[in-house]
């Protein structure tokens, strides 16, 4: 073997160094890794991407506008105040008046007003439905994954209903319930929660049997602490991923159902209804059709990007 002979060590000067040093216990156990805080890492990871930040700003703007603009706009979707005033119909978008930024439609209603009210309703439906689905799904899923007897029963139920095409069930449900804001939310939640529950169940089963949880249990950690410190951080990422998928998919479904006329119904404004109402104007006054279509796409894509960013950030494996 090639050897490294004595390097430049001055024999005389360093004989004094050949004395024993007392072993420092702390030194031996020095862990080089920096201190780790889960939520701080999530925060840091999330804001590290410029794209995510930009999208977040867009999302915030949209949400704020859709909450507040309808409050002050005085727009009533059923009243059609300008229906008899032909001069207000079909005004192409211009910047003269904020109400005309998106133009007006065939009944003289301001598209600007309609879009923000419609967005608010479409998003509200999606968020509430996602909320119900997720809460229900997580609670049931957690029990499902934890308890073996419950698992047996639920698996049978799941196998019966899991493979039924989701869109079609919502269709038929909306038909039965009739159109409306809460009916739509109900139909969407009822068909989705089981899938979320199953998803959570799988994750819980994986984590439950991991050695570090067994170790915690052996050491006498309370169940609540195990859930809080071991399982929850892992589930956060999983839940956020699920939510980030659900919201755009519900918005997409609402748009389609309302476009068909079996969604929110006549009384409620929504993006789907606006698109449906203006489909006939696609060739004549295209802005009436394409603005709500574009809006629905912008909302879903930005929400999805932000959701994905959050999901990635909350996955402990990406923290380094």
């Amino acid at each position: 073997m090639s050897t490294l002979e004595n390097k430049a060590v001055n024999p005389a000067a360093d004989s004094s160094k050949f004395v024993f040093v007392k072993m420092d216990k702390d030194r031996t156990e020095h862990i080089a890794a920096p201190k780790y805080s889960y939520w701080k890492s999530v925060f840091r990871q999330f804001f590290s991407s410029k794209v995510t930040i930009a999208t977040l700003i867009v999302v915030a703007a949209i949400i704020l506008l859709s909450i507040f603009q309808p409050m002050f706009s005085g727009y009533d979707p059923v009243a059609h105040k300008n229906i008899n005033d032909a001069a207000t119909h079909f005004i192409t978008p211009n910047f003269s008046n904020i109400k005309y930024w998106f133009g007006t439609d065939s009944l003289g209603d301001s598209m600007w007003d309609k879009i923000w009210l419609g967005s608010r309703n479409s998003m509200a439906i999606a968020f509430i439905a996602t909320g119900i689905t997720t809460v229900l799904g997580v609670i049931v899923g957690a029990f499902w994954g934890y308890s073996k007897s419950f698992d047996k029963i639920m698996l049978e139920v799941y196998n019966v209903f899991a493979n039924v095409p989701f869109t079609l069930v919502v269709f038929v449900l909306m038909y039965i319930l009739g159109s409306g804001f809460w009916q739509l939310i109900f139909a969407m939640s009822v068909t989705s929660w089981l899938n979320t529950a199953y998803f959570i169940r799988v994750q819980v089963m994986i984590i439950r049997d991991r050695e570090y949880n067994l170790a915690s249990r052996c050491l006498g950690t309370s169940t609540w602490n195990i859930i809080k410190n071991n399982i929850l951080p892992y589930l956060v990422s999983v839940i956020v991923t699920s939510v980030s998928r659900d919201v755009p998919s519900f918005i997409s479904l609402e748009v389609f159902l309302s476009w068909l006329g079996i969604g929110v119904g006549e009384q409620v404004e929504s993006l789907g209804r606006i698109i449906s109402f203006n489909t006939t104007y696609m060739s004549g006054t295209p802005y009436l059709f394409w603005i709500p279509v574009a809006m629905s796409a912008v909302i879903t894509v930005t929400l999805y990007v932000v959701g994905q960013g959050l999901a990635d950030a909350s996955d402990p494996r990406t923290h380094m």
């Binding site: 004395v19 024993f20 420092d24 080089a32």
Partner: protein, 357 residues
């Protein structure tokens, strides 16, 4: 020792890994010579760099790793000059073969066993399908698979763990490589199977004439199979020599610690020994001797200057300041000095038991 041919000669290797934004130095100036026909054992804790070192011999470093400097001469050429996959294909399997730790996952679960052997033969030796099959079956018999011809078309899940590892060995030897790297080949197996596999590798070595590099953290295995042993710590080789020399006359405090930790040879009535602390982080540049913080025999100079290799004999070298003439004389702990006797006792006891049976 110098009569034997040097089959592989690595010098001053530095290997680094890019992990997110930081650089980890996994191998810090390692040099190694391998002699034809021997069994060299590389011992060390997890993270000492033993696997990484051997991976450089086959170009199997992970994608975020690179060889910063150093050479590895094999068959007159520097292996580290090979930059393409095509170049490495001529070495891997054909000249240098590897046996990995986990036989459960080394084999493709949905391809029949026989096929996984013959594809190597067909590729490297250019044999036809039938010839390859015949050779494969013979190999399977040599590694101890009963009814090899019948089991040729079976799938991995139909084989037990020990048998799968035999197949892995068969695949590795299919092209008569010059060097066989065994990366902890028995760690995932039952103790009883372990002995069989170790025996198998040893027997086949005399038959095929390959040189073995054995990576392990199990000193018992080292004692069983190795001719020479190199002890690694924190990316460096800190002591190397003939097995007898390192076991019965170790010079580095880390080696003392390792040998003292063997529970089988613990002295009855006294506490079991353990090296305190954890290895240092390889992200930082290490000043002085890497083992110093955990070394009960550390001196001031250990924290300032890295020790060079000191010669103990022609074949035995250790990298510790304790061997410097200026250092105070130190006797190794009792577990180390009495090691030889206690091993003899244990052996006699075992033979007695077997003799009585």
């Amino acid at each position: 020792m110098s009569e034997k041919e040097k089959i592989l000669s690595a010098s001053d290797i530095v290997v680094q890994f890019q992990l997110r934004n930081k650089m980890l130095t996994a191998i810090r100036h390692v040099s190694l010579d391998l002699y034809e026909g021997e069994t060299l054992a590389i011992v060390g804790e997890s993270g000492s760099g033993k696997s990484v070192l051997t991976k450089t011999f086959t170009g199997m470093l992970d994608s975020n790793g690179h060889i910063e400097s150093g050479t590895c001469m094999f068959e007159g050429k520097n292996l580290y000059d090979i930059k393409t996959d095509a170049g490495w294909e001529k070495i891997r399997g054909k000249k240098i073969a590897t046996v990995f730790q986990d036989p459960m996952t080394s084999l493709n679960p949905i391809i029949p066993i026989g096929r996984q052997i013959t594809e190597v033969i067909e590729k490297h030796q250019g044999k036809s399908k039938e010839e390859a099959k015949a050779m494969a079956i013979q190999l399977m018999e040599e590694v101890g698979i009963y009814n090899a011809a019948g089991r040729f078309d079976e799938y991995p899940f139909q084989y037990s763990g020990g048998m799968r590892q035999r197949i892995v060995i068969a695949i590795a030897l299919a092209c008569h490589p010059k060097i066989l790297i065994c990366d902890e080949p028995t760690t995932a197996l039952d103790v009883t199977i372990q002995a069989q596999i170790i025996r198998l590798i040893k027997d086949l070595q005399s038959q095929y004439g390959y040189t073995t590099i054995y990576i392990t953290h199990d000193l018992g295995v080292v004692a069983n199979v190795a001719d020479r042993v190199a002890v690694m710590y924190a990316g460096q080789i800190i002591e190397y020599g003939l097995v007898d020399e390192v076991f019965y006359d170790p010079k580095h405090p880390y080696t003392w610690g390792l040998l003292s930790s063997l529970p089988q040879l613990g002295i009855k009535g006294s506490e079991l020994y353990a090296i305190t602390g954890t290895p240092p982080s390889l992200f930082d540049v290490i000043k002085g001797d890497a083992f110093a913080p955990r070394n009960p025999y550390a001196m001031e100079i250990d924290f300032e200057e890295e020790p060079p290799f000191f010669k103990v004999s022609d074949t035995h070298y250790a990298k510790t300041w304790l061997l410097d003439p200026r250092a105070p004389k130190v006797t190794p702990p009792q577990q180390v000095t009495t090691l030889h006797e206690r091993m003899q006792e244990a052996l006699i006891k075992q033979e007695k038991q077997e003799g009585l049976i």
